[in-house]
């Protein structure tokens, strides 16, 4: 601490004088991962709410009366296929093939839209049968949890369209590659959340 006296004349320095430079976007992936982890906590809360309230039917319809597991299986297949096609988009992106990347993104988007359509059909069917979010605590927590996941998929599709336009205009430039990698993490993360949804909500709800 002898050097403190000598530098005291110039005033104390509380920061690193020379921070080594970071390349632009070098911390984006870690930052986006941290966002995904916080998103994971949102879903954990909603899963916990469903776990607590999922058996409170208020003499209303139970999961066994409402869920069509065949439809859920088709839905799960759509999301799983969209995951692998997004993987193919990433592989073609690495090779710098713009056309193939766009094509795979388009296929992914179609699978995402199919997933959303089936989910909206299911919701509409349930509401038509009187199983609205207001009916019971089970239905409130069900619509909140599955609806939040569906909303994430919706925004993922909006993001995908945005990036397809970006790639069409500017090509696979460094910034676009970074954005596509972030969306890749987001999209695969949504598939991971869906594993929890179909297991805990649909399959275990039907068992209950």
């Amino acid at each position: 601490m002898a050097s403190t006296a000598t530098t005291a004349d110039a005033g104390p320095v509380f920061h690193l004088e020379e921070e080594h430079a970071h390349a632009e976007g070098s911390s984006t992936m870690l930052g986006f991962w941290l966002y995904l982890m916080s998103d994971c906590l949102i879903f954990a809360m909603l899963f916990a709410a469903f776990g607590v309230l999922g058996g409170n039917y208020a003499a209303g319809p139970a999961p066994k009366d409402l869920f069509d597991l065949g439809l859920v299986a088709v839905n799960t297949t759509m999301l799983l296929l969209s995951s692998i096609t997004y993987g193919f988009a990433m592989l073609t992106m690495v090779k710098g093939r713009v056309g193939a990347t766009q094509a795979w993104l388009g296929v992914t988007m179609l699978f995402g839209l199919a997933f959303l359509s089936i989910e909206l059909y299911e919701f509409a069917h349930m509401i038509h049968e009187g199983a609205t979010p207001q009916r019971s605590a089970f239905l409130s927590s069900f619509f909140t949890l599955v609806g939040t996941h569906g909303l994430h998929v919706t925004f993922g599709i909006v993001w995908m369209v945005t990036l397809m336009i970006q790639v069409a205009r500017y090509g696979l430039i460094e910034a676009n590659r970074r954005r596509l990698m972030c969306l890749s993490m987001f999209w695969h993360f949504l598939d991971v959340v869906w594993i929890g949804v179909f297991t805990f909500v649909y399959l275990m709800g039907t068992l209950r």
């Binding site: 690495v94 990698m181 399959l203």
Partner: protein
């Protein structure tokens, strides 16, 4: 596979983010299909009579499938981002376990103990 990886790193060496390989994605997809199909089959066809056992088995399948997705689709390795993403993941998993197990445990006991008239009925002759 190694030649392909080298080509990837040559033009994309920065950032340290992995993209995976075609083989990795296909293995992940194949495993996911199996790990999804078996729980649906178990529940839809009622293969196991014991519901508790079925629930435990499909939860185990879900846990394995989540790990498969983490490895083959999200390319999580202990070394990615200098270990920080794994640290964040572990922290999140701990929080998720606390939230889920705590909520279910506390609310189950609350439900069981606060059932109106339950204790009075038991004490009746």
């Amino acid at each position: 596979m190694s030649a392909h990886d080298h080509a990837d790193h040559a033009d994309h060496g920065h950032g340290g983010a992995a993209h995976g390989s075609l083989k990795g994605y296909l293995i992940g997809f194949f495993l996911s299909v199996i790990l999804t199909a078996i729980p649906f089959w178990l529940v839809m066809d009622g293969v196991i009579d014991n519901k508790q056992a079925t629930a435990v088995i499909i939860m185990a399948f879900a846990a394995v499938q989540i790990i498969v997705h983490m490895i083959f689709f999200l390319h999580m390795t202990p070394a990615s981002e200098g270990g920080w993403s794994m640290l964040a993941l572990i922290f999140t998993v701990i929080l998720v376990v606390i939230v889920l197990s705590g909520s279910l445990w506390v609310m189950y006991h609350l439900n069981a103990n606060m059932m109106p008239g339950l204790h009075e009925m038991q004490q009746m002759p």
